[in-house]
Each structure stands twice: as C-alpha cells, then as structure tokens.
Symmetry: C2
Subunit: 462 residues, 2 copies
Amino acid sequence: MAYFDVASSAPLHPVARQALQASLDEGWADPARLYREGRRARMLLDAAREAAAEAVGCRPDELTFTPSGTHAVHSGVAGALAGRRRAGRHLVVSEVEHSSVLHAAEAHEAANGSVTRVPVERTGAVVPEAYAGALREDTALACLQSANHEVGTVQPVAEVAEACRAAGVPLLVDAAQSLAWGPVEGGWSLLAASAHKWGGPAGVGLLAVRKGVRFAAQGPSDERESGRSAGFPNLPAVVAAAASLRAVREEAAAEAGRLRGLVERIRARVAASVPEVEVVGDPERRLPHLVTFSCLYVDGEALLHELDRSGFSVSSGSSCTSSTLTPSHVLRAMGVLSEGNVRISLPLGVAEADVDRFLEVLPGVVAGVRERLGAPVAGPAEDVSDAGGELVVDALGKRCPVPVIELAKVIGDVPVGGTVRVLADDAAARLDIPAWCQMRGQEYVGEEPADRGAAHVVRRLG
Amino acid sequence: MAYFDVASSAPLHPVARQALQASLDEGWADPARLYREGRRARMLLDAAREAAAEAVGCRPDELTFTPSGTHAVHSGVAGALAGRRRAGRHLVVSEVEHSSVLHAAEAHEAANGSVTRVPVERTGAVVPEAYAGALREDTALACLQSANHEVGTVQPVAEVAEACRAAGVPLLVDAAQSLAWGPVEGGWSLLAASAHKWGGPAGVGLLAVRKGVRFAAQGPSDERESGRSAGFPNLPAVVAAAASLRAVREEAAAEAGRLRGLVERIRARVAASVPEVEVVGDPERRLPHLVTFSCLYVDGEALLHELDRSGFSVSSGSSCTSSTLTPSHVLRAMGVLSEGNVRISLPLGVAEADVDRFLEVLPGVVAGVRERLGAPVAGPAEDVSDAGGELVVDALGKRCPVPVIELAKVIGDVPVGGTVRVLADDAAARLDIPAWCQMRGQEYVGEEPADRGAAHVVRRLG
C-alpha cells in the first residue's frame, strides 16, 4: 500500500488537517462583513495571506487565493494577456507546460491570439537562448513551469526570467510542482501554484502578480481578492493551505537529500534490473522526489494495473492508460519512448522499505506484462511480407505497444542496411518507433503517408 | 452573541463537518486515476453527485460541482449564452438578482450583448406577465432568482418558467437562497446554488444543466466535471456539501413553521415598537427565515455597529455601510427606503430567546443612533433659506441619512401646498427622499438638475 503519486495530489498534511479543523469554527463567516464573525474571518484571511506570501516570496497584496491551481493559471494568463494587449497578442509557452497552461494558450489562439511553443531538449528542459529567441516585439506574456510535472526536470527559470526582463515581457511561472521545495528563483512577474500538490487541501490555488505588472482581470467583475478571483472565499481551506506550506517547507528541507538518494537508487536499479528501459528527464537538474521511466514492449495500463495489485499507486504518460488515446505531450516533446511509462513521485516521509519493495517487484511485473503481450521474441512474425525486397509489418488497428513489438520481432530478419516499413495508425507509434530506433541503435528513416495511418521506415544498422 | 446573517453565510452544519473530516482521509486523491486511492475518490464523488442531484431534482449527469455559487452563475450564464448564440444575444434578468448574475450580465453587455432588466413591484417580486413581455425572438437566456437574498421575497419561478418554455428560452434559476428549503418548482433549464448558504462548506457551488439545453462551456478547456468546471475537484468539501444538503432539508421541513412564526413576530414587533420604520418584502410569499426593514433617520453603519456591540450580527443594504457608497440595488429597484436598513436571516435552530432579546434591544439602539444624529426634531434647521417663497435645504456633501433628516426638520415650516428643495449629492438621497415622502404622506414632485448633485422637490400635503 504505497502511494507514489504526489505529483498528482498529495495526502493532506497533518498541519493542514489541524488548521482546517480549527478554522471551520472561526472561518465560516464572510470576511467582508463588519460584525464579530466577519472580523474573525478577515483576520484569518489576512494572516493566511501573509504566511503564503512569505513562502512564495512576494508581498501579501500581490497574492490572491483562487479555487485551484488551474484557476490561478487561467486567470493569470488571461489577466496578463489582457493587461498587455497594447503590446501585442503573442504568447510564449514551453511545449512541456501543464495542460492548464496549454489550454489557456489554445483559448488565446481561439480568440485570434498567436502562440509560440518553445521546444525542449531530450531532458525536458528548454534552452534559455531558444526561449529568448521566441520573444518578439508583440509578445504580451511568456510562461514557463518551474519544474516539469511528468519527468521532474527543473527549468532554467532565472535565465529565462532575465531574458524576459531584457525584452520587457512579463514571465508567468507555474510553480505547482516545486513550491513545496522552495521559492522560485529569478525575476518572475506572475506565479501560480496549487495547494493539494504540497499536502494542502483541494480547493486552493495561489496567484501572485508583482506590483507594476499590467493586469486586467477577465470575466464578470467581483470585489473579492482584489477583483482577481471571484466567489466567496474558501477560508478554512485557505488557512490550511498557508499553514501546511510553511510546515512542508521545513520538512522538505530536511527530506530533500534523503528523497534525492532514493530517486538515485530508483534510477540506477530500474536501468540495471529492467531490460529495454529508458529512464527519462534530467538526472541532475530535477525535483528531489520524482523519477520517470518507460519500458519497451509494455502496455502502460496493464503495468499500472499490475503495480496497483502489488500495492503501488503510480501514474503514467502512456497513451494506453485512462481516457486518452495520445501519449503525454511532455514525452512527445522530449522525443522519448512513451510506452510502458511510469512516473514515481515520492511523498515526504516515504518509507525506504516501500521503495525497495517496489524495486524488487518491478522487474517481474514488467516481464509478466511483456510475456502476456508475446514480446520480445526472436523469429519472423506471421504478418510479415516481403514486398519487393522490403519487409512490411502491418500493425494497422493495433494499439501501443503492439506496433513496436511487431517491429522488434522482425528486425532480425532484415539484412543489415535493409529497411522495414511499419504500417500503423496509433498516434503513439509516431513517438515510440523513433524512440525504439534510438534505444536499439537502428536508423529511423522517416514517416511516409499511407492509405491508412502512416508507414514508418526503419533501417537496420546492426 | 446571536448570528442572524445566514443569508450571507451559514455556520458549518454538524453533518457537513463530519462528512468533511471523514472524506479528508478518503477523498484527497485524483478521482481520474485508476489506482485504489483514485477509485475511492471517484466513488465518493459519484455518491455526492447522486445525493446532490436528488436534492436539486435533476439527473446526476446534469449536475456539476463548481468552486462557488458565483462560479456556478458565471459559468452557467456564459455557457448558456454561448450555446444559444444562434438564437441571438439578448439576455433577460430581473433587477433584483444577486450581484453575480448582474455582473455576468454586465460582462455580456461589455461583449456587445444586450440585456433587459425586468423591474419588480414594491414587494420585490417580478410580475410574470412583465417578465414574459421582456422575452424576444433573439433572447438566448433568461435568469430569475428563486427568492431574493436581501428581502426574502419568493419569485414566481413556475409562472416565469412556463412563459420561457412557451417562448423557447431556457431559464436559469439562481437558487442560492432557497435550496435549503426545498427543490425549485417549475420547468427551469439551469440552476445554480452555493453550499455555504445552507451550512455546507465554502468552496462548493452547484450548476445543473438539463439534458437538451444547449450549452457551450467557456474559458480554457478542461476535462473535469463534463468540461463545465475546470480544476482539481474539491472532493472533501463536495462530499460535505451533498451530505449537509440532505440533512438541512430534513431540518428545514421541521423548522420552517417555527421560523416563519419568529419572522412574523419580528415583522409585527418592529413595526409596532420602532417609530418611522418600513418593513419591506412580501409578507406572505417569502422565505421562512428572512426579514428586512429600514429605519428613517438612521445611519446603517452606526446601527450595525451598535447591534454588534449588543451581540447581534446582521447585515444591511444601506449605502452607508462597508465599502459601498450606493444603496442596495434591490432596495432601489423596489423603491423602498434604504437608510437604516437591517436584514435578519435566522439560522436553523435559532433560540427564540435570542430573537426576543433582539426585539427588546432594537428600539433603544435605533433611538440612540437617531439621537446622536440629532433627528427627528421640530423647528427650523440652521441652513434653511427662504428663496423666493420656497424653502431650500442645502445637504450637499452630506451623506445618508443626513439629507432626509434635514428635510424632516423643515417640513413643518413649509405651508401646506408649498414646496421645499433639498440639494443633495449623495446617491442614496434619490431613493430615500421619495421613500420618506411615501412614508410620511408628502408629495415627491421630482428631481431637478443642479450645479452640484440634484435638487429634490417635495410638496407638503399635510
């Protein structure tokens, strides 16, 4: 029973629970009212804002509480774009932002704004010079996460903030994944975060807008939270969020080294004990508690199911899990394997024994899933045809990871220097076949149009 | 220590507290995840949705949870207007809606939509025929509250819903004030509500959208809550909201008669024991627990302050309270006195003794405030001049209730049939001088432009 998915949502921290319960009695009234219950609520709200602002590294009057991190991002992006409308309607984001940022960018495009998505390196990090190169005369806002939510890579926020400052463009930092570990360095202009990611309650986001940043709140007007977040304040949760952020910061300082060591162990042991695996993300510039790897020839949903049965709760960016039919946009932007993807994000105080048990269980679980999928095996597969000297694998209608498995089965039948064409219509193939080639030392020649789906051409090098 | 302002926010109901605490352990994970913690959260969310839908009187798949009642209204209005954009861009609201509805209407106007605000009678109720008359070929949406939040008047929702049905226009009902007392009758299309109004936690609103109603959620896309409410769900609060709505409904059925009787007592005793008072709102078609009255020659802020000192927490729609400089739009639309306004909204289980103590204290508190303001007294005031046979009162720069007090001081000096001109630049004078004339049996001749503010002309009839 080990929960290794705090990057999705962390269990409520004991300090959050205490603060929540205490403020249920004191914090239910409207802080805008003048009677005693209202004054008490106002005092709680003011104290929570001061505590949270100190942890964020901003002034209390720069910080507003929103109903979620998603609301903080949506309101922050919309307000900053509107406030800088005279400068232009161009928005810069990285390709690996959280979906809330990318959805805000899509909404901006739908309203005839323009968006540049800055690519990332194979580690998941943007290159500051490339990011700076995306800034234009008409750029109204730039967005960059402090650290990636799927692979843990820390972004060069300070360098990008400096480039934005030089260009006169405000930078919004999505700090959802990193705020527990410390304030965001560098000269950011806006910052968004989410309490349930650090062990605070659901229902609380933070939006900081530095004094002097042009900002025009969008949507119907509302007098709450400086006009930046509509609706009756969720005061007990706000109090719990602020109190737990301070508590988590203290623990995180003590825990960072230990968790970093456990993640090192996972990175090393997974690479050594699971064949055909790719550990992704920057091995150094990363969050202390998060590690992600992908396993060739494995179906992500089956893997999660088996790990859950073994008592481990983890998540996956594979296409073959939950409701999505496309692989994680983060893995796609990094150009790494998406099949059999597993993200581990360790809670504060995680038992070392649980991590070790996971490492013991994992190789067998992966092997079991591979065996059931019939991969990898040597020898020709049944649906291989020799079409004029070139092997063709028909994987049409087959979902990840089957096209890659079929490819692996036949590569031994291809003469060195020869090619094989994999016909596939699963979106993940576009990512996973090139990733397989990189892992196996084969050449990905490219993709060609086909009657259905696409033909992925692979040349055997050895 | 009596809290009489549940129409602002109700203390947390014991059932809400229990459910919240229980679900803090079970409901912190992401209900979209497939592992055990996620599945548990999903079960809690589904159960809460079923319970809340039953109380609302809709199908579970018609109900979404939002971060607040304000969000429910804003999302409901924007989504319904966008969904019916082909029909037209005309919106109908009553003049006495909650500010969240009126702000949504203003946002629609700012986006070049058109809005008709249907007036109300002196009771605060719309006339169904008048409301029906506002519906047009290009009306995309109509909005009507189930009951007014400031005066308690119940609106003729069923009749208006029938008129909307006949015109093919969806009706959005803001049920924030009435949902604790029962489901909304009639054929509404959309419904919004807020949990902290019924004793649920802050941070939860309800938005119901009937199947078949055209609806296009606005803002950046998000897969949560059928795409109608973005952000990570506030699950423990949602569970507490649903559980407490059921519990409150049961208590409300038992309490309605008792509270109705207490409100009758307040209506009668206030009218009998406080001179120069107007009890407003419909005496019959009203919420069981809410009553509002206005006291001539009284400053609302001073009155609230004195009542708070005496241990009573109430609110006011007067202009001279909290941060606003204009009187309540509800009282203005009703054409009733706004000065010295007090709203009492009794909690479930309120002690009869507290109500009686309030009734004992009130006359003295009102008299004390009047005495300090020097009103009402007989004889000419100092700043009265006889300008060619007409008295002029210069109340420029003076705030509510001073202009009315000055008028009352001089009316005895005006010959019957003669007029007095009150020069005033306080927005409340425009409402309170006509209201004073109606209460005192004098004639309000009208308002004339003046160098500063306006001249309000009053004719003495007796």
